[in-house]
Symmetry: none
Subunit: 233 residues, 2 copies
Amino acid sequence: MEIVDLSTLPQKDTRYDEFLKQVCEKYEMDHAAYAGMNPAAGSIHGHVTYSDEWKAHYQEQGLHLIDPTLHMSQRSIAPVDWSRLERGKDFQRVFRDAHDFGIPDQGITIPVRGPYGDIGLLSATRECSREEWKKLVGSVITDLQSLAVHIHDHVMTSESISRMLYHPTLSSREQEILQWAAAGKSQQDIGDILSISHRTVEVHLRSAREKLNALTTPQAVGRAIGIGLIYPG
Amino acid sequence: MEIVDLSTLPQKDTRYDEFLKQVCEKYEMDHAAYAGMNPAAGSIHGHVTYSDEWKAHYQEQGLHLIDPTLHMSQRSIAPVDWSRLERGKDFQRVFRDAHDFGIPDQGITIPVRGPYGDIGLLSATRECSREEWKKLVGSVITDLQSLAVHIHDHVMTSESISRMLYHPTLSSREQEILQWAAAGKSQQDIGDILSISHRTVEVHLRSAREKLNALTTPQAVGRAIGIGLIYPG
DNA sequence: GAATCTATTGGGGGATTCCCGTAGTTTGGC
DNA sequence: GCCAAACTACGGGAATCCCCCAATAGATTC
């Protein structure tokens, strides 16, 4: 996974940073962050109101690989209050570091999903008492959900980023062969079915794995199904 | 695609119908409808406040195959006002029929996506002037977005739906290991992660394949994702 | 015409999966 | 208490997958 800090791009679009700042002000938050990711394409990109030092540290340390807020988002639909995250090793690591940069572990993340396996996350943090936080969240969560959809939709439909993040396209042969693999056929079977060498089948499977950023065929099949390139066989 | 009317099931859960009715009342709508679909698994299920006659007609005619509100939802993240739908052949067909059953073509559909490729749609309609409708939508859309997430999350995690769709149930260990396989881990990797022998991992994968009636692990992963037992890793 | 991409086939070899067993412990239900 | 099922663990051997390499033909692009 590679991190792309959208604010450093040449076609930098300051509207998003501005947008996040406004979110902070309007909803009385310390920080707001948007992250978009596409596991199949293997990319993460984002806008944050955090300090540049934290951004640099986060990227240097590869914290995106263990960030529990990112992991959570891969399986949740509903907003997740950080207090409900599992207090594991990764959590300790990320939030201990975050604390050193003045970022509290009191926050909320709202995931939204797009049609191409893309995931958008809108997070907001605030340092205050637990009671105060609960009350705040209750009063702004529906607005934040709406904003999360809005910003993710906006980012994904913008030309510059969508080209980077769009789900990979398999060649018709790759798609065909992956479909047979999902149907439980071995490489030899597929070769016989398509009247080609099982060697060739393996080549196509490999390139399909590469395009889907998958380490194994099972993972490739899973991702292809997840983004609708093939169907469960 | 097969349609399942959740309200006709023996384990019928009237809370959803009740919920939709309340949505109508609270937000001054004529009708509200929830539809959940999983293109990968090829299923559609739903709750509606429409008349039984319309439900029957809809299913008999197979209107779900051409319903533009369903099609739209497969590629959109943001809410879609029906006035923005393409006025094509399918639109004419569905909404002409709908009109005969007292359902207006003024409505809005809010799509939400889950981690398994599942899509939830919350729709609401109201017969009134264009100005009135615009004003109404503006004032309730954020609430509806929030409700859409809520109901879809609820339906997808409810026991009844998963039982209804006849899913083989994997043991927690099998599910866990299959999830790691979908994440691209080898049997040896998984054994190391879970601190068990890679032989044992293979046993669990085998029984998972048997339960899913799959010939290979890729097929098992695909099916498990298709029916929502695991998510693409 | 050259370069690039895709589809195709092949060899060799190591890594991995998969199927055939056996067997002890735990867990939950009857 | 008993039984079925799940979970754990181990091993041999065959099948399969996966990765390295190279090579040809056709289509498209520059």
